[in-house]
Symmetry: C2
Subunit: 196 residues, 2 copies
DNA sequence: CGAAAATTTGACATGACTCAACTGGAGTGG
DNA sequence: CCACTCCAGTTGAGTCATGTCAAATTTTCG
């Protein structure tokens, strides 16, 4: 087995073991149900109006989940970086077309799996069900925390928070995407940045 | 066994079977790990700064999750009605003190369980892990949908949406709580209502 | 280098907030 | 059962944060 694969498997293992202890064999089974995919910058993991068939574990790179609003403006819902699972959960679980798209913002390497394969895996490796229960709980917690920041803080504070927490975001992601993630217009973000 | 208990057990069973098929025995085991609690209107299920020890399944009634912001104003995060699980997940999972409170807005009957008991249950009834994985996924999906409404719609639309979806909310819940749930000031909500 | 995309700037518009005063209804106690 | 209090809801004036639109400028990238 190729060095790169070993590296990816180790990364997955380290990640999963934070939730549940898996044996080496279990990790093997899980890894063998995943496929490796490479996406170039700007490429779509999920195009608009498609059913989101796969769940993606980001090994390396950066993606965003976004949609086009009624005025034709892009709205970024969330960014995904390494060691995050990304999918449009609504579309993935219910098998309905996704208005949202997933796009690579940098060249990105992922492990991915379909819903059917994942269901199989849950049966082969029951502990994985627990791991995903916890992963989903953590996602819920972090989305709730984000909501709180939105309710409590001004857009200026939201921006400085984000930059403090993930300083290199400002370089890796165009400003207008950050603006739409923060729920403000690009012009106003530009205004805010000037005043620092 | 008391009629009321039978009734509650049936309600729980119907609810859980929407996610996973459980046998009668499994439902019994689950039910026996839950306790029944009654809360009077205005009573707290979770007071401020306490660690949220329990997860509540609402049999009947209405509760809210809220906090007091920096200016001393109440902010309602979410409402819980029958057949919903309510907890401050962050506090419950990580065992950290909760700035948020849970309060009954009507006389409310719940089934509740601690984290430790729930962990035990997951081991006794492994299918429950799957059920909660799905329940958590659904919570995540619905919070994401709520976020989208917030990003896309004006506060006027958010209000009329809410009233359309849950018409009796307007009667069961004071306006100022609805306002804070919608993220607007009570004065402004009053303004909006006038213009219909 | 040149075209297209991203960002900045400025003028103006507006949704939503704050504060303070007023109204009306729901308890509560004498 | 009345009088009083208290709290929710309304109204209005003034203000501020943030949006929109259009033009100018800078950056990116083929």
């Amino acid at each position: 087995m190729n060095m790169v694969f070993v590296f990816m498997k180790t990364q997955l293992k380290t990640y999963l073991n934070k939730y549940v202890q898996f044996t080496e064999q279990e990790i093997d089974i899980i890894f063998n149900h995943l496929i490796v995919e490479n996406f170039k910058k700007k490429e779509f993991l999920l195009p608009q109006n498609a059913i989101c068939k796969r769940r993606y574990f980001i090994i390396e790179g950066l993606v965003r989940l976004f949609y086009i609003d009624a005025n034709g403006v892009e709205k970024t819902v969330l960014f995904g970086v390494e060691n995050w699972w990304i999918t449009n959960l609504d579309s993935f679980v219910k098998e309905i077309p996704s208005e949202k798209m997933i796009q690579a913002l940098e060249n990105t390497v992922v492990l991915s799996i379909t819903r059917e394969e994942l269901e199989k895996l849950y049966r082969l490796v029951p502990k994985l069900e627990r791991a995903f229960r916890k992963i989903t709980e953590n996602m819920l917690i972090s989305i709730q925390r984000k909501d709180e920041v939105f309710m409590k803080k001004s857009s200026r504070e939201r921006y400085s928070n984000l930059i403090r927490q993930i300083p290199d975001f400002a370089n890796r992601v165009p400003q207008y995407m950050i603006a739409s993630y923060l729920g403000i217009s690009p012009e106003y973000l530009s205004e805010l940045r000037k005043q620092d």
